[in-house]
Symmetry: C2
Subunit: 353 residues, 2 copies
């Protein structure tokens, strides 16, 4: 397999992507990593020794910046690392792309370059959450690509997410829920109610409405929502996680006794294990589901290790035959999911940035 890595995307680019790409290439001699970016900036970062033979640089002179308007920047910067990278995938020169850039821009790039899988109305950003049961992971989508959704979009997110969890997390029959403000059917909005009606007619294992806390319980493995709510949930979870750690530190410092320090020291390995479980860096990034090609968005703050893991996720996804399975599932879903007319402007509308 050949994996494209956007060397210029992310808060710590090009340093972190280059280092992560080298790590991955050394660990996977049977596969190839293509670093796409400014050769003059990337080359010095490869270090003194000989770079791995399965790593090469593909020059691209421009960069889509984190604060650029996603689709506009992607269109204007024709030689951006993101665009050139996606074109390599589109033209069959590579099997997957990883970028730690602005997720809106990566999705816009994927839509404009690769397009959508047959029958997919709106590709979605899928985010993995740590869960206490059920395989230890749950998937939330859309996590931010589509602010404005129709019921059929949510139903398709369910189909895409179910296939991903089945193939990638090994859950035989993932349970699917619609995120709402309560479990009773009378709750929710017109969007959640109509999406639930569609999903009740599906062949998925549909749990009905679920609440934010169910993401972490593991009782459901796939949770669908619009991209506005999904993004708010994602950022809230990050906030609580950081907040809990910060509050614990404050509590320890405030007491400041020897026993607290010793306790923190003794718990260090367990806390490190916890951090690994909730750390985005371990997850391998957020897959973009529904594009005609494998794309993974790594967190903007990605460390080399996070980039390494995102490449691993991209490799596993490409090898799992996910694209074929997604296409098959979306086609099957036509039996219960009415198809909507896709306007010509669909590509633009699908990207919020």
């Amino acid at each position: 397999m050949r994996l494209v890595l956007d060397a210029m995307g992310g808060d710590h680019a090009p340093g972190a992507p280059v280092e992560g790409g080298v790590l991955f290439a050394r660990a996977h001699p049977d596969h190839e990593v293509v670093l796409v970016g400014d050769t003059a900036k990337v080359t010095p970062l490869l270090g003194k020794g000989l770079p791995p033979s399965n790593l090469r640089i593909h020059h691209a002179s421009e960069v889509v910046e984190m604060d650029d308007h996603a689709s506009t920047a992607f269109r204007r910067k024709r030689d951006s690392s993101l665009r050139v990278g996606f074109e390599l995938v589109r033209d069959g020169h590579a099997d997957a792309l990883v970028s730690a850039g602005n997720s809106g821009a990566v999705m816009a790039g994927g839509l404009l370059t690769l397009g959508r899988l047959p029958g997919v109305e709106r590709p979605a950003i899928a985010a993995l959450f740590p869960a206490l049961k059920g395989g230890g992971r749950s998937l939330l989508l859309d996590a931010g690509a589509n602010v404005d959704c129709r019921p059929s979009h949510l139903a398709q997110f369910a189909v895409l997410g179910e296939a991903y969890v089945r193939l990638r997390l090994g859950v035989a029959r993932p349970r699917v829920g619609v995120l709402s403000n309560g479990e009773e059917p009378s709750k929710g909005t017109p969007l959640t109610r109509e999406a639930s009606e569609l999903l009740r007619q599906s062949d998925l294992d549909f749990a009905g409405y679920v609440e934010g806390k169910d993401l972490f319980s593991g009782d459901v493995q796939v949770v669908v929502t619009d991209g506005f709510t999904g993004n708010v949930v994602l950022k809230t979870s990050e906030g609580v996680g950081m907040g809990v750690v910060g509050l614990l530190r404050q509590a320890i410092e405030k007491r400041g006794g020897l026993s607290e320090k010793l306790g923190a020291l003794l718990l260090q390995p367990a806390l490190a294990g916890l951090r690994r479980m909730v750390d985005y860096a371990e997850y391998g990034g957020a897959p973009l589901l529904g594009l005609r090609g494998v794309g993974i968005v790594a967190h903007g703050r990605s460390s080399p290790r996070a980039i390494h893991n995102a490449l691993g996720a991209a490799l596993a996804t490409a090898q799992a035959g996910l694209q074929e399975e997604l296409t098959r599932c979306i086609a099957n879903a036509a039996a219960w999911l009415p198809t909507h007319q896709r306007g010509k402007k669909g590509t633009d509308e699908a990207v919020s940035d």
Copy 2:
């Protein structure tokens, strides 16, 4: 002050409310607690000794159950503890009401009995979050009363929340944000964009868009959103909190060594301090802002201690002159906030259940 306590509301009613009411009455001999509920059920719970002289029971034969349709149940059950309790406040026999019942039903009851403060379009449920800075608390509203909001509703939530944080949390000039899926002005939905435009013209300290994580950082003290998103955020935060604790326990058990057990033991006081900070029981419940009277919703799972603290919050709120301040601020806001026509069905529409 005389405080009404709904003895029949909550998962552990009437036991927990009665016990919490007795606790509060004993601790506050200068104030009075009125337990509203079924005398036959409440009386035996008062214990053997003489109940405090400042605690009395007011009989009500019916109960609004947790799974009742909120406004329908409130209308039909004319002798429910919730309705009778609100009528005591409405008729000037009490200064505030506390209930651990269904928050939708409590809000519906408040709207149907007390009505709204002059100029208020939609009263909101306000939820307190623990924050690392800025006074240690932030306020999110609406946390679930109004699923379907207009921009002017969000702007009024900001006015109500700002006054609450100023008077109750002692923050001199609270900073206000609109919850969105990113900080850039291009993000958000039509609702968040129009609400932000209104708030930019206000005399509030407006921070623009904020993300879920900002609730916990303390950089803003008031965060406004629609009741659907707000409720999802509230439940997600509860889920992460429980999830982190559960994951830590799993990590400790999995390693299971002596040092982990000793570490957990030594950290016990710090962890207990942390639990107090994030525990809803300590907060004193969620105030209903914009009603013509003081109403507090305690968590459904409230312990006697949580009920005790909610009564304390109700007392402090009634003493702080919050209602007068809210009325003044809503009237002042008319200078920058266009008033909308209020339909006759406003009371119904405002309650989601």
